[in-house]
Symmetry: C2
Subunit: 554 residues, 2 copies
Amino acid sequence: MGKPVRVIPLGGVGEIGKNCMAIEQGDDIVVVDAGLMFPDQEMLGIDIVIPDYTYLRDRGDKVRGIIITHAHEDHIGALPYMLRDLPTVPLYGTKLTLGLIKTKLREHKLADRTIFREVTPGTPFEVGHFKCDTYDVCHSIPDAVGVTIDTEYGTIVHSGDWKFDHTPVDGRVTDFARLAAIAGKGVLLLMSDSTRAEVAGYTPSERHVGELFDGIMARAPGRVITTTFASNISRVKQIVDIAHAWGRRTAIIGRSMENYSRTAKELGYLEFPEGAIVHAGDIGKLADHEICIITTGSQGEPTSALSRMALGDHRHVAVKEGDTVVMSATPIPGNEELVTRTVDNLYKLGAEVIYDPGARPHVSGHASQEELKLLINILRPKHFVPIHGEYRMLVRHARIAMDLGVDAKKAFVITNGDVLELDDNGGRLGTRIHTGEVYVDGLGVGDVSESVMRDRLSIGSDGFFLVVLTIERRTGRVVAGPDIVTKGFVPEKDAGDLIEEARARILAGLGQAQSGEHLAEVSALRDEIHSSLSSFLYEKTKRRPMVLPVVMQV
Amino acid sequence: MGKPVRVIPLGGVGEIGKNCMAIEQGDDIVVVDAGLMFPDQEMLGIDIVIPDYTYLRDRGDKVRGIIITHAHEDHIGALPYMLRDLPTVPLYGTKLTLGLIKTKLREHKLADRTIFREVTPGTPFEVGHFKCDTYDVCHSIPDAVGVTIDTEYGTIVHSGDWKFDHTPVDGRVTDFARLAAIAGKGVLLLMSDSTRAEVAGYTPSERHVGELFDGIMARAPGRVITTTFASNISRVKQIVDIAHAWGRRTAIIGRSMENYSRTAKELGYLEFPEGAIVHAGDIGKLADHEICIITTGSQGEPTSALSRMALGDHRHVAVKEGDTVVMSATPIPGNEELVTRTVDNLYKLGAEVIYDPGARPHVSGHASQEELKLLINILRPKHFVPIHGEYRMLVRHARIAMDLGVDAKKAFVITNGDVLELDDNGGRLGTRIHTGEVYVDGLGVGDVSESVMRDRLSIGSDGFFLVVLTIERRTGRVVAGPDIVTKGFVPEKDAGDLIEEARARILAGLGQAQSGEHLAEVSALRDEIHSSLSSFLYEKTKRRPMVLPVVMQV
C-alpha cells in the first residue's frame, strides 16, 4: 500500500488504566483493548473513566475489529460504551475472555447484538487487511494473550499485560518457541507492558503463592478467610486445592467472585476436587478449622463482602477471634487507606491478619525489569514503544530498551493521542489526534464537563450560600425575601447570626441600588449581591462558599 | 496520694497524627504534645484536624503544663487552638522546640501571651506534683526528647518520636546511660512510638543519606534540585555540606524551608561553611554544575516551590533537561498520587529524577522492630502502651513487648479516649472519656459538623438542583418562577431539556396541589416538589443531586 502504519494510543500510555490502542493503515483500523480506569480522589461523584474515542467514532466505517488481550476491567471496561457507537465492529478474543465479556455485556443489554469472534493462539485471523494472531502470555487471569499484527513493514507486537512464569498454576507457560518464530520474521515494533518497569529483578511465580498459603492453612487455628481479585481464577483454584489438602472446605462469597468462578467453571477453566466447596449457608455446620472462605474486598471496598463481614453486616459470616484473614492482593494505588482501615477493623475484632508485603501470599501479574529485558532480547524489535504505565514508568522502560541496543531514536516515549507513523523510512511522530478522558456518572457518559467538575470541587469544599428574593418589577421594591439557603458551609443552627447579617447587608445594598440607575437591571443586582456577600462571608469565615443570588420579579 | 494515675490518650493512639496524651492524678494534669493531623480525602474542604480536647478545657484549672517532645506539626499543630482555651498553661520544651513553636504562635498572635519554660534533658522540673524530665532522642528534627514523669507508683516513660542512630549528623546520640538510669529506678509504664512497628530490622542511620547524596552530587551533570521536609534540619545541613564539598553552592527556596532554617540558625542549630549558600536570585550567575537547590514540595503539594518549578511558574528556577531532582523523603500515606504526578511532570521536562525507594537518599526518623525491642529490653517496663500508630501497628508493637516478656495483661492496646488507671494494684481500664476529631476550616474550629460534612460529600458528588418559585399567599397562584439553578449536576447548556421537564412537572404538581387541601401549606408544597423531582432526576440520570425547593409568598 505504501501508506504508513499509524500507531495511536487512545488510553493507557502515560497512565495506568483505560488501555486502548489503535493501529491504522489506509482504510483499516484495528483496536487492541478498550478498558476503563477508576476515578481518582478528585473526580467527585464519577463512577468510571473511559477513553475519549471520538477518533474511532468519527471513523466508524474503518474500524474492522477490537482485539481484547484479556478480560480485566482496564482492558474491557469501555466496551459497553464503545459498542453503542460501533455496534457492528467484531470483538476478537480467547474463549474465557469472550465469555467474561459476554457476562458484562449482558448487564448492559448489549450481548445479543455484539459480534464475537473466538481466536486460538497460533491460528491467524484477518482484521481488515491486517493479518493478526495471538500468543499465550502469563498474567493474573487465565487465557491472556499478546497480539501480533503483520504489516507490510514488519510485525507489530502488542504484549498485553504479561509476565514470565515458568511454573504457572494452569500449566500454560509462555510460548517461547512462538516468540522465537515471531522474532525470526523480524519485529517492526514492540509495545510492551510497563506497569513494573520500576521494579528490579523478576516477578515471582504464582507457584510461590501456593507455598505461602500452604503454611497459612497448616498453622491457622480457626477459619481462614482470604480475599483476592475475583478475576484471579488461578489463585482461587490454588486456594481451594490447598484448603482441601488441609481438610478445609471452601465457600466462595461475594457477587463478582461468584460470577467469575461460575463463568470460568462453565467454560472449563476451573475445576475443584470433589467435596472441596461448601455453600456459604452451610459453613455453620463445620468446625472452624474445617473452613476456608474466599471473598471479595481485597481493596477495602466498603460494600464488599469482607468489609461487611468485618462490620458484622454479612448474612453468613462475621469475623471473630481465632479467624485468620489473608489479604492475597496488593492495594491498587489510591486504595491504600481503605485497605489499611479494613486491616485495622479486622484486628479490632481479634482476627489475625496477614497483610504485610513480606508475608502475604501475593505476586504481581506484571513483568519486572529482568523479564522486560528478556522479552526485548528475544524479539529484538526495530522500534520500541513502552505502554501501560505512568510517564516515569515509560521512561524507565524505554531506557531499558536502549540499554539492550534499541536505537535511542527508535524508542518512542509517547502518550495518549500521539501518533507514531512507521514505514520503510523508519518511525516518526505525526500530528496528534484528539483524545482524553470521558467521565461516566450514572447514565451520563461525558456530560460531566470540566466546569461541572470544578463546581463539584468548589461546593464540595466550601458549600453554597443561596440568596432568593422577589422584587416588584415596576418599583424594584422587595416583596418577599431575601431568603437564604446554605448547605455544606456552616451548620444551619450556628448560621443564624451570619444569615441575619447577610440579609441586612443585602437590604442595605438594595436601598443604595434603588436610588442609582446602574443597578436597575436584575443582572446588575445579582452581581452586586454576589460580590458583596462573597467578600463578607470570606472575611467572616475565611471560606469561599459558592454565592448564588436568585432574583425573581412579580 | 493513693489515687490512681490516669493515662488518657486524646489523640495519636489508633491513628497517625494529632498526638496528645494526658496524664492525670488527683488535681494535676500534665499533657504531652498537642498535634494536628492532615485531613484525609473524604474530609472535603477541611484545613486540619485537631484532637477534641473538651476534657482538658473542662478541667482547665487542673492542667499544669504541656510538655512538647519535638516541633513537628503532629506534635505542636493543635497548640494555637488549645492555648486559646488554656492561655495560662505553660509550655515545656527544649530550646529549638520552643523556638519553632514561637514562630508558629506568632502567626496566630499568641506568642506574647504564652508562658514558655525551656527544659534541658537531665534537669528535672515540676509540673503540678509530677516530677518530670526529658532525655535526648534521635529523630528527623533536632532537639527531640522523650519524657519521664515520676509518680508514686513508678516512672512513666513517653518515648516521643524516636529512633536509635549511632551516627547522627548532629552528634547527639541517644543517651543510653540515662535510659539505664531510668530503668534502674523501675519503669511503671513505657509508652512508645509505633509508627514503624510493622517494619522488620533497624532503621538506617541519617549518615547513610549523606553517602547517597555524595554519589549523586558527584555524578550529576547539571544542577541538583533536592526536596525534603523543611523541619529536617540535619538533612539540610548534610546536603549543603556535601554540595559545598563538590564545589556547588546551595540556594534554600520555599517559605517553610526558609523559616525553619532561619530559626535553626538563629538558635545555633545550623551552621553552614563560608560561601556555601547562594541567594536564589543569584543562581543564574553560576554554572549548572555549581548549583544545588534545596526546596519544599517533597509531598507533591501543588503550591510548593518544586511544583511551581516543574510548571515553569517559579520566579527563580524552572526545571530543565540536565537537572537531577532528588526526592529526599517518603510520601506520607495519602500523598502517593501527588508525589508520583510530580515525578512524572519532572520526567516530562527531561530531568533525571531520583525517587525510587531503593535509590533515594532518605531514612525514616522512626524506630523499626529491632530498635523497639532494644528500648523495651533496656527499660524493662512493668506496663506497656503502644502509641503513635494505627490500630494494627499498636497490635504489632504490643506483641513485640509480650514476646520480650511484658505480661500480656499489662500490655494495653488502647485508643483515643480510653483511660488506663495505674496504682499499686496494677493497671486497668477506667471509664472512657469523650474525645474525637475537631475540624478546622478557615476561621471555624469544630463548626463543620457531621451534617455539614455529609452535605459537602453529597453536593460534591452529585451537585444540587434548586427550584425557586413565588406564590400569591391568598390564592396559591404562582406569580414568578419556577426558576431552576443547578450546579455540579449536569452542564447548564445540556440541562435545558431536563430543566424544562422539571418545570412542567412542578407546575403540573402545583395544579393538583391547589385543588386539594393538603398541599395548601408551603412546607407540604416543598415536600411535594422535593420528592417528585428527586425521583424524576434519578430516573433520568441515575444521579442524586440535592433537591432544594424554595417557595416565597407575596
